[in-house]
């Protein structure tokens, strides 16, 4: 009958550690401020410090990407982080199938959500950048474009399955398999599109050829660091949020169980109090009542 309702704290680990119901911690606060500050600095660097991309050809014409080059500082980190997110989902799904603990499952879904977000950002910024630079919003023959699009679509499907209410273990197992198939699929799509039309518009690595300006290279490296901090911040928050949610669901189930038990005890008490009027009856039905 003694139903305790935790109000401000959840029993998270089962080892007596009380954790506040928040996804924030000292580490995430530092990371969050670092990302914000870094982003502000990145905006200044990208718009004020890095010069336009121009180059003079042998004929004396001025060519290059001009201001569009500044999109690179969002596009390149977003692409790398999208692939990192899906990579983490792949590894976490393998981990789930091996160890079957909720930690891996939550890690998989958190990374997938962030991966889809950065994937969409990659496609959008790439498309905006491609219009002035390649004179087209989209190029079907480009391997990276098509591969990234298919990958984002696969993981949008993955997240759709995630939203369907079903028993937690069932969902985790199915989603883990979907993520594994999805990554295998990306390799097949990549190979087949490459074979189909191998006419990539993406520039070959300018880093190795040392054709990139120092300012641009520095800002690109800086944008990768800012991106990494932002990614870690998002992942930590998303992971903790999902963990708290799973704990809350478990708590609700436990509470419901306690309430049902209390109800049946109440029922038994009422039955017991009604007993004296039925003393003339045989004992068998009364025992049956008690056991209920």
């Amino acid at each position: 009958m003694n139903v305790t309702t935790p109000v401000s704290t959840f029993e998270l680990t089962g080892r007596g550690v009380q954790v506040l119901p928040t996804s924030s911690s000292k580490a995430t606060k530092v990371l969050g401020w670092l990302s914000l500050l870094g982003f502000a600095v990145l905006v200044v660097l990208a718009f004020a410090w890095v010069p336009q991309d121009t180059r003079i050809t042998d004929q004396g014409d001025v060519v290059g990407q001009f201001d569009a080059v500044r999109l690179m500082f969002v596009h390149v980190p977003a692409a790398i982080l999208a692939y990192s997110g899906f990579g983490i989902t792949f590894l976490a799904s393998l981990g789930y199938l091996r160890w079957r603990t909720v930690w891996w499952d939550i890690m998989a879904v958190s990374a997938a959500e962030i991966g889809v977000m950065f994937g969409v950002l990659t496609l959008v910024t790439g498309s905006i950048w491609g219009r002035p630079t390649w004179q087209t919003w989209w190029e079907w023959g480009d391997v990276r474009l098509v591969t990234t699009l298919v990958m984002v679509l696969v993981f949008i499907g993955y997240l759709a399955v995630r939203r369907i209410p079903v028993q937690a273990q069932v969902q985790a197992r199915r989603c883990a398999l979907i993520a594994l198939v999805g990554v295998v699929n990306i390799i097949i799509v990549n190979r087949s599109v490459d074979w189909w039309e191998n006419r990539t518009l993406h520039q070959q690595s300018t880093l190795l050829a040392r054709k990139i300006r120092d300012e641009t290279l520095f800002t690109l490296t800086f944008s990768l660091l800012v991106g990494a901090a932002l990614f870690a911040w998002l992942l930590l928050h998303r992971f903790r949020m999902a963990y708290l949610q799973s704990q809350l669901e478990q708590l609700e189930v436990e509470q419901a169980l306690v309430e049902r038990r209390a109800e049946s005890q109440l029922h038994d008490c009422q039955a017991a109090s009604a007993l004296p009027t039925q003393t003339h009856l045989s004992d068998a039905p009364q025992e049956g009542e008690d056991q209920r």
Partner: protein, 222 residues
Amino acid sequence: MLRDVWLVVGKDLLIEMRARVGINQIVPFAVIVLLLFAFALDTDQAALRTYAPGLFWVTVLLASLLAIGRSFAVDLADGTSDRLLLSGIEPVAAFLGKVIAIAVQLVVLELLLSLGVLLLFDVSVQRFGLLVSAGLVGALGLAVAGTLYGALVAGLGMRESLLPVLLLPVVAPVMLGATRAFQDAFGVAGAQGWAWLGLLVGFAAIYGLFGALSYGTLLEEA
């Protein structure tokens, strides 16, 4: 093991023969899609001939969604997959049986549909062997991936809309490879048909292996 595979194939095909959903609903649906393509391309016979391979495979893909969804819906209604496993049939056998049954249905559909394409879109077959091989292996690839995803979404709510979202991006390479092979077979584009057939074989093999390994895990809870 082989006997179990044929048992599952026989069960699925017998249900299909008796219910005749494929012939009465899925084939007419596919023919209607062909009709819509003719309307969309403005009765331009030359365009229809050029794009016939792609249109053919888009139609097969759409119809295969119906066939796969139907095949698992039938099983789900009677709890068949549970009972198959309880009866001691290995998951690999259940998987292969399902794949073969769906592939057979798709091949029948392709046969009827290719007649439609030959008559309505006025194409001529240049390489008959390539056409038949690509049709068979393409159907097998679709059936393999379809069985895997059909089982993945079986029993989930909203599976009718979920199956296309999950399956279509995955079978994109089949669409690509089979279309190139058919282009070569119809002689409408200089594609290397036999090389693309290799892609189809590879696709079916990779997903077949994956499905055979994971089908047991997939059915654990069902």
